[in-house]
């Protein structure tokens, strides 16, 4: 997929900006493949937790879009798609990671709820993914916002632009989605 012409992505972004919702869906697999390839190369043996997704998405953007005439607005559409793709990449990585651990019989047993010295665990990531799927049923927009924030690290303002809504709305949606997720992810 690396030799995908940049213009194709650019055209899809233009179409999305013009209101073609299907354009974003067609963009998705392209971005996913690019991100997965990048992640694989960048990581080269490092633990998956240290992959910097923000950098990956930026790199993917540079590779896929490049074109200077793509408006900021389109760029943010790209991030919106990239967020979904990044989520997918990371979730697949986490699955693989856990499978390897199981194979080696190395699953750590958590005695209590507090993930004590962990930045984030593969299982948490998968829980997050599952929770997001449930959130999608309640509010698709909230799930998308969480993706942008959590998997790519877009700011509230960037998200607002990507969704063409006000920052205040993003914040409100994020706040309630965050509470909902915190509750869902609460270690029982």
């Amino acid at each position: 997929m690396a030799n995908l012409p940049a213009t194709e992505v650019t055209q899809l972004l233009h179409a999305a900006s013009a209101g073609d919702a299907g354009a974003l869906d067609r963009l998705m697999p392209l971005v996913y493949d690019e991100l997965r390839g990048l992640a694989h190369r960048v990581r080269s043996g490092q633990p998956y937790e240290t992959v910097n997704t923000t950098a990956l998405v930026h790199e993917a953007y540079l590779k896929l879009v490049r074109s200077p005439e793509v408006a900021w607005e389109s760029r943010l559409h790209f991030f919106r798609v990239a967020a979904r793709a990044m989520r997918q990449v990371l979730v697949n990585e986490a699955h693989r990671h856990l499978a390897q651990k199981r194979g080696g019989g190395q699953m750590p047993v958590t005695l209590h709820e507090e993930a004590y010295p962990q930045p984030i665990e593969a299982t948490t990531l998968l829980d997050m993914d599952a929770a997001l799927e449930r959130l999608e049923q309640l509010s698709d927009r909230q799930a998308r916002i969480v993706e942008c924030r959590f998997f790519v690290g877009l700011t509230m303002d960037e998200i607002a632009d990507a969704f063409n809504i006000s920052s205040a709305t993003v914040y409100r949606e994020w706040r309630v989605a965050r509470a909902w997720l915190a509750r869902e992810l609460q270690p029982a």
């Binding site: 010295p117 509010s139 706040r175 309630v176 965050r178 909902w180 915190a182 509750r183 609460q186």
Partner: protein, 808 residues
């Protein structure tokens, strides 16, 4: 749940967040839709206790230590070792000292102001604590990159308590000793007026040699705030807690006291004894957990063990827990805080009795009643107690040393007596005064008297002056200061014409007027008049008269906060009176004044015996029901309150109030002071409803008593504001803080110490509310920092505000 329902929930959640007190809002909601209310409540709890990774942007893929944190001053950050609340903890190494430390830091600027506030507060609270079982704070600073505050703590190489127990499997007595060490650390924190509020096994690290250390005072609370006022920010009503370790009163949003920590220790002990949590919350929703904890007592540890361990081992372990240990744990876990151990020490004592095989106290017959009483006496609620400070500035009781003395000429005295008698005869029906006897109050009579004085005695200036002085004095005693001032000024003019400004007759007028000005907070005029009186008395007065003026000046200086001059004059007066007026009310007053000054200098050990001597002397000289006995009772109550003997303080204050009320009626500054102290005392004992009504009445009185703005009103606004803020009602708090500031600004000017204090209080309140209140909050902080002399007037507050401004 479907999308429609979710929208409904979201709307209610947002409304709750915007409500000054979200819990109140939810409680209101519960009446209509209990399900909805439960959802919102659990979302609010989750909102306040969201895992840090949700707020990190983006979370897990950050380098192990973010780049900008690789080096913080002399500390090299090595790796993350955990998180407490919103903060991250890193292991760091200090090369010059070859020491490992833990560095706690807020991860990023998303942090809610409240989170930042908690973080800074934890740092301050921890700095107060020096205990072998509490992780110490070593250093603090701001990150160069983002000016985010961090603090450096002792690094504890060890495992969380539950992990330690699971891996080491210590025997029962070792577990109990571990528990005692933890408990002693908590008790020590309580002695320092700090409630931890978030005790749980993961917050206790046990080093390899078996020494436990308490961590994470992130939501700890200071019980009495004697530090900078911006630390009195209260929670916005959001609960920050770990549901499985929360006490019922925390879940219900009720007052949190030391009893809350007793409960948490009960849970920890339960877990130490059984290796499982008291409540099995696995797979339950927050609402279900809340119901479980609030409505069901936990299964006895011994019975629990039987269900967990198979066969004979279970039987053996259960037998050891049965009886005393079951009783101790369940007593600590009683749902009603008043039914628990009265203190952590009491809990530890029982564990100690168990270990030394003595009968434990919790099983003693009829203990319930006694303990309940004891708990009520010793409970330390979470209250705003800048109250103490404000009380002192509000003024303890005004002395009434300058009661009229019969030193006018005999004939004048006779004439005065005749006039007074005549005056009071109008109280009988059928006179032409227009006053009906049964309706006439002392006030009406005095007003009538003042009129008659001016009309009837125009041709007898000496008598008129003397009567103006007396009637003015009585007005002053009834807190009718405007009338008193005008009557006394008239007397002053009259006597100046009659005798000249330096005549002995003038001294008395100067003194009385000085008193009235002092009562109206016009201290410069009060001092000037007092000095004039002193000059005359030093030249021509008796030792008694000299002592009286000295004593007055001492009091005025005390009122202005010039304590060294206050002490100087008061000691001089006291020395004269010890010799010339032993066993007198005057001596008692001087003793009291000196005690007040010591009290203000926080020399409590010096002040208390003087208060007691003053009280005894007054009771001896004046009898038990005299108004001046009330003064002494009040002052002693204030001191006992400060020393946290709340029951004693309440007893003393109620006795004082009863006396005052009988003497001066419901509207008098002394009643105000008394009400406010009583409000503080009942708050300290957990009776918030009564406290609030006492404050409300006080505020009404403060306005009824003074025509214009007066510092009594401001001080009462301030107290009520603090009180409602502590109840989580920030908006209401804001109103009172604004009023307090407005009045102080008007009375003292905006650069005065109290005015500055009020400004910071308001700013802190607005900051706690956050959102669109922030700009004003920051503007107020800045204007505080820019005010001339702010650094000298309130150095600690100034430092905090500077830091806060720098942090932004």
């Amino acid at each position: 749940m479907d999308a429609d329902r979710w929208q409904q929930i979201q709307a209610a959640f947002e409304q709750a967040l915007q409500h000054p007190d979200p819990q109140t809002f939810v409680a209101g909601l519960a009446a209509e839709d209990a399900d909805l209310a439960a959802e919102v409540r659990s979302l609010l709890a989750a909102d306040a206790d969201a895992p840090a990774y949700l707020d990190d942007v983006p979370p897990w893929q950050m380098p192990q230590v973010p780049e900008h944190l690789h080096q913080l001053g002399p500390y090299r950050l090595v790796r993350p070792i955990g998180q407490g609340g919103m903060a991250r903890v890193y292991l760091a190494y200090r090369e010059d000292l070859d020491a490992e430390v833990a560095i706690k830091i807020l991860p990023h600027p998303f942090s809610h102001p409240l989170t930042q506030h908690r973080f800074l507060k934890e740092r301050q609270l921890l700095a107060r604590l020096q205990h072998p079982h509490i992780a110490r704070v070593l250093d603090a600073g701001l990150t160069p990159a983002h000016q985010t505050p961090f603090f450096v703590m002792e690094y504890v190489a060890g495992a969380p308590l539950h992990v330690y127990c699971a891996t080491r499997q210590p025997v029962l007595t070792d577990r109990l000793r571990l528990f005692q060490s933890i408990g002693r650390a908590v008790a020590y924190a309580h002695q320092n007026l700090i409630v931890h509020r978030d005790l749980k096994p993961s917050n206790i690290l046990v080093s390899d040699d078996g020494t436990p250390k308490l961590l994470d005072f992130g939501i700890a609370k200071l019980l009495t705030a004697d530090e900078a006022p911006d630390l009195n920010l209260t929670q916005t009503g959001q609960q920050v807690l770990t549901p499985a370790y929360a006490a019922p009163e925390q879940l219900r949003g009720e007052a949190i006291t030391t009893a809350t920590d007793v409960y948490a220790l009960g849970l920890i002990l339960y877990e130490l004894l059984t290796d499982v949590r008291a409540y099995d919350v696995q797979g339950r929703t927050p609402g279900q957990i809340e119901a479980l904890i609030c409505e069901h007592a936990p299964v006895r540890p011994s019975a629990r063990v039987r269900t967990l361990v198979p066969g004979r081992e279970a039987h053996r372990r259960a037998r050891r827990l049965q009886g005393d240990l079951d009783t101790i744990v369940l007593k600590a876990l009683r749902r009603d805080p008043a039914d628990r151990y009265a203190s952590v020490d009491a809990l530890l004592d029982d564990v100690d009795r168990y270990l030394t095989e003595q009968p434990i106290a919790a099983r003693a017959p009829a203990a319930g009643y006694v303990v309940r009483k004891f708990v009520q006496r010793h409970r330390w609620p979470v209250v705003a107690a800048t109250m103490l400070l404000v009380l002192l500035t509000l003024g303890a009781f005004r002395e009434r040393a300058l009661r009229s003395q019969a030193e006018a000429a005999r004939d004048e005295a006779t004439a005065v007596a005749g006039f007074m008698q005549d005056l009071f005869s109008v109280a009988s029906p059928g006179t032409t005064s227009g006053l009906r006897g049964d309706e006439a109050t002392a006030r009406d009579l005095l007003a009538y008297g003042a009129t008659r004085l001016r009309e009837d005695l125009a041709d007898q200036p000496r008598l008129r002056a003397a009567l103006l002085l007396r009637v003015g004095d009585v007005h002053g005693d009834l807190a009718l200061f405007a009338e008193a001032e005008s009557l006394l000024t008239e007397a002053l003019t009259l006597r100046q014409q009659l005798y000249g400004p330096a005549a002995p007759e003038m001294a008395e007028v100067y003194e009385q007027l000085s008193y009235v000005y002092q009562e109206q907070d016009q201290y410069d005029r009060a001092i000037e008049l007092g000095r004039q009186a002193l000059r005359i008395r030093q030249a021509t007065g008796s030792p008694q008269e000299r002592a009286r003026v000295l004593s007055r000046l001492g009091l005025i200086y005390w009122h202005t906060g010039t304590l060294d001059l206050g002490e100087h004059y008061t000691r001089e007066a006291l020395a004269l009176r010890e010799v010339h007026e032993p066993r007198s009310m005057a001596l008692a007053s001087s003793i009291n004044s000196l005690a007040l000054i010591y009290h203000d200098q926080n020399r409590l050990d010096d002040a208390e015996p003087l208060y007691r001597r003053s009280l005894a002397l007054r009771q001896q000289v004046l009898g038990p029901d005299h108004i001046n006995v009330a003064t002494a009772l009040h002052n002693l109550a204030d001191l006992r309150f400060q020393r946290e003997d709340f029951a004693d303080a309440e007893r003393l204050e109620r006795a004082a109030l009863a006396i005052i009320h009988d003497h001066v009626g419901p509207h008098h500054p002394d009643i105000l002071d008394s009400n406010i102290l009583l409000a503080g005392i009942v708050t300290a004992q957990g009776d918030y409803a009564q406290a609030e009504s006492l404050y409300a009445v006080s505020l009404e009185m403060a306005y009824a008593m003074h025509d214009g703005p007066h510092t009594n009103q401001a001080a009462t606004h301030d107290l009520l504001g603090e009180f409602v803020q502590d109840q989580g009602r920030l908006r209401e708090g804001e109103y009172h803080m604004r009023e307090a500031m407005r009045i102080y600004d008007a009375v003292y000017g905006p650069d005065d110490r109290d005015a500055l204090w009020a400004r910071v209080n308001l700013a802190s309140n607005l900051r706690a509310q956050g959102g669109d209140k922030m700009p004003e909050a920051m503007a107020l902080f800045r204007s505080f920092a820019d005010a001339p002399g702010a650094a000298e007037k309130l150095p600690d507050v100034y430092a905090n505000v500077q830091r806060l401004l720098a942090d932004r």
